[in-house]
Symmetry: C2
Amino acid sequence: MDFLELSDRIIDSAGSHKQISAAATNRRQAPTDFSIIYSKDLLPASGGEKVTKEFLHELLNILLGYICKSSRRSGKVLDFHHPHQLKEGLEGFSLQLTDKPETLEQILVDCRDTLKYGVNTGHPRFFNQLSSGLDLIGLAGEWLTSTANSNMFTYEVSPVFILMEEVLLKKMQGIVGWSDDEGDGIFCPGGTISNLYSILVARYYFYPEVKTRGMRALPQLAIFTSEHSHYSVKKSAAVLGMGSENVLMVKCDESGKMIPVELESSIVAAEERGLVPFYVNATAGTTVYGAFDPFNDIADICHGHNLWMHVDAAWGGGLLMSDRHRMKLQGIERAWSVTWNPHKMMGVPLQCSVILIKKRGLLQDCNELGAEYLFQRDKPYDVSYDTGDKSIQCGRHVDVFKFWLMWKAKGSEGFGSQVNKCLENAEYLYDQLQRRTGFELVFKNKPEHSNVCFWYIPPTMRGLPPGPDRDTRLHQVAPRIKHRMMEQGSVLIGYQPLGDKVNFFRCVFSNPATQQEDVDFLLDEITRLGNDL
Amino acid sequence: MDFLELSDRIIDSAGSHKQISAAATNRRQAPTDFSIIYSKDLLPASGGEKVTKEFLHELLNILLGYICKSSRRSGKVLDFHHPHQLKEGLEGFSLQLTDKPETLEQILVDCRDTLKYGVNTGHPRFFNQLSSGLDLIGLAGEWLTSTANSNMFTYEVSPVFILMEEVLLKKMQGIVGWSDDEGDGIFCPGGTISNLYSILVARYYFYPEVKTRGMRALPQLAIFTSEHSHYSVKKSAAVLGMGSENVLMVKCDESGKMIPVELESSIVAAEERGLVPFYVNATAGTTVYGAFDPFNDIADICHGHNLWMHVDAAWGGGLLMSDRHRMKLQGIERAWSVTWNPHKMMGVPLQCSVILIKKRGLLQDCNELGAEYLFQRDKPYDVSYDTGDKSIQCGRHVDVFKFWLMWKAKGSEGFGSQVNKCLENAEYLYDQLQRRTGFELVFKNKPEHSNVCFWYIPPTMRGLPPGPDRDTRLHQVAPRIKHRMMEQGSVLIGYQPLGDKVNFFRCVFSNPATQQEDVDFLLDEITRLGNDL
């Protein structure tokens, strides 16, 4: 039997709890019996090469089985169980940890079970989060990264990854529109931390004494952000000791964009109350509506008041890769800092987030402490590449390689097409919602990003007049449909209320696997599951 | 030819730039020619299963080649090149990113090159960092984690991983010595962030108004930590808006332990200056000396002054797994919070760090903002499992699975033996240093952790009297030997000055692959490389 066939057989049995053998990778010798082998038999154990190879081949077969299954529409998005059910141990899958080791056979079974009871975020019908899909090159990058198992603090231990970070940062700065002699930045663990960096560095820029003396040496600062912006701005203000109540929420228009005159008047009102405005967060692609704030207008206001302008493009940054859509971010080049998460719209596996800072050197000055056990000055190479002291972390996970590898594999053009396709899916959904009965858009304008927000109105509610009674009933529709979706496992989509709008669905497209047929399926499924409500 | 043999052949050629074919995984059909295939041909492309399987098999062969080579002593720890050399593109390895896609063949070559020019952190003779080694089960866990590509914010998208986090946190809390009805915590991106959490939560515990009103509403707070503690305490104070100068450094004894009466007098002196002490960081395993602070004495002082006691056991926490060594952490159970990095002494792949908080609910109250698009209260399951709002991040990488899988595979006992072995290596080095000519210990006591600090004194310096002249010369010895080590690539070890001590080597053991012969090799190599200085 051919290796691939054998491998297929193993893959197709993924999910079963039968004994696993290494037959596929080792036919001349007796198949390895993983039920009598333990982790201590793997490398670095002497003579452990053979078992190590067989074990990792077995694992690859399990992972390949999952990857292939995930991409098939016939498979489920999830197989939901309540916490107490999983904790009780389903079909022998025990989460408990013991004193004694388990065999490698049990470890492989645990791997299968972990995948089985998880959520299939790569499934073409997973619309629940801004990050979805499974990019195979990105995955290869992650596997290599964990095999290299290194740390970003110095060039000494991560020479290649440190240089890849530099290359990626320069590339992204160029795409944002900054000139060659400006631009700095760092990869960090998620968009919230990236936004936190922007406030941290902005505060240091205006008040460098804050580093040693703290907030009590400063006046009462104020931060401005739109009411539709991400909650990380408030969270960061709380963490940084600035106080969440000093984050002032600026009103948005109907489609979720910050209203410039409202920003101007908020700034003036804050000054009258004795606060000192210093920072404005504008958003490129709000979390729920996918709106883009008017960056040029905001930049004018920031310029007039000498405020730091940050653009949170965690979600919207990906559109910069598309010739068709990048004009939605016009003015972003005037920002002093930008958050951009390649793990969202660009499909890079989690985590991959960047903070870009226009002015060089600030990040280093703001964060450096020069620990001598890491950042010795008497090293035999250019120590400006020991970039770890720019970070608020010490050890830092390598998030750059998978992204660099994807860029090599797709080219800038490939990212552009990927973004275009996601936005085409959003347009298709927007059109369908207007054609089909029982659906209502949350806002009328064509979505700028891939977010589409809508209500499903069950037949019994279609005649109801607008008002509190209808709102109360409508508020329960999305959660109840979502509940049924989770039980069926056929598709997954998010919902939320926002301001005075009761619970509505938010569909987002970032998975290149999704096709128009999946959009149709989503609407059919919502109708099927919500028809009797 | 047998599959394993073929696979070996491919593995042995790792590093060469010859054309790569998928012969090993596909013999009946013509070998796949990766030089005409692109990432767009992989899944989710229609019909992409075959190419996907072949590509990932090829990648596995490359990674297996690296893993096997890393564990061989005959291989180099690193192949050093300066930043400008790597940037110029060595042997065709170009870091630059272009508009057009590269073929999968080029992608595989890039993977080989990335590994080739990186540092072999799993090599038995890599002693440069607190994290080293490559645990194969941990690696399997990381590969699965990236295949699942999920996010820790809610139970909805990461049911299994969220429960594994709960199981691990409970287990670790029990091992620290907390009772069943206390204990909370979260996995976070590194020990610095864990330490930051401890100060953040302590500040909130005493002054909950800080969340909304900021530091200006509070008195001038003071933090205490030893002069040998990690720089993350100061870094966190700067980030949190408390000011690094309000971190007061307490004197240590000769072996690096905080002196309790010095802590007491620092607290009293701070109060006299009008500061308000609220938090003490004690260290379990300092970064350079590996010292353990006297936790019970510190706990008594904290109790007397009503201060939050934190233990930074990022490095030393692993010793809790060993019956032989856990008494070094006596009193840690009295801490109100503990940082513990399984990615250091327990050998879990990067990143894996935990902050444990004794009092339940504080972490949630301190950080929650209740964003409605993620943390809806009307979900159909127990939403107390939506733990993401405890975090200062929004999206959070899954760091738990690899650790959970390693625990399953080794049992608590396996971690214990691993720790014991590392400390035996340290003892062996300590003994050898006393026997061999030309070596001098930085402090006389037997190391408590696996850190061993020493000078190498070249023959020409052995007769010199102590004093500034000798110090000036000795200060240059370690950097020069390290420089030669990097060029030769035979072994890697760190050095630094500390206080009034000039540059000395710090050897740390956390890699289970290291044997006594590697310790001998290290000392021989230092002698060989430094003999003529």
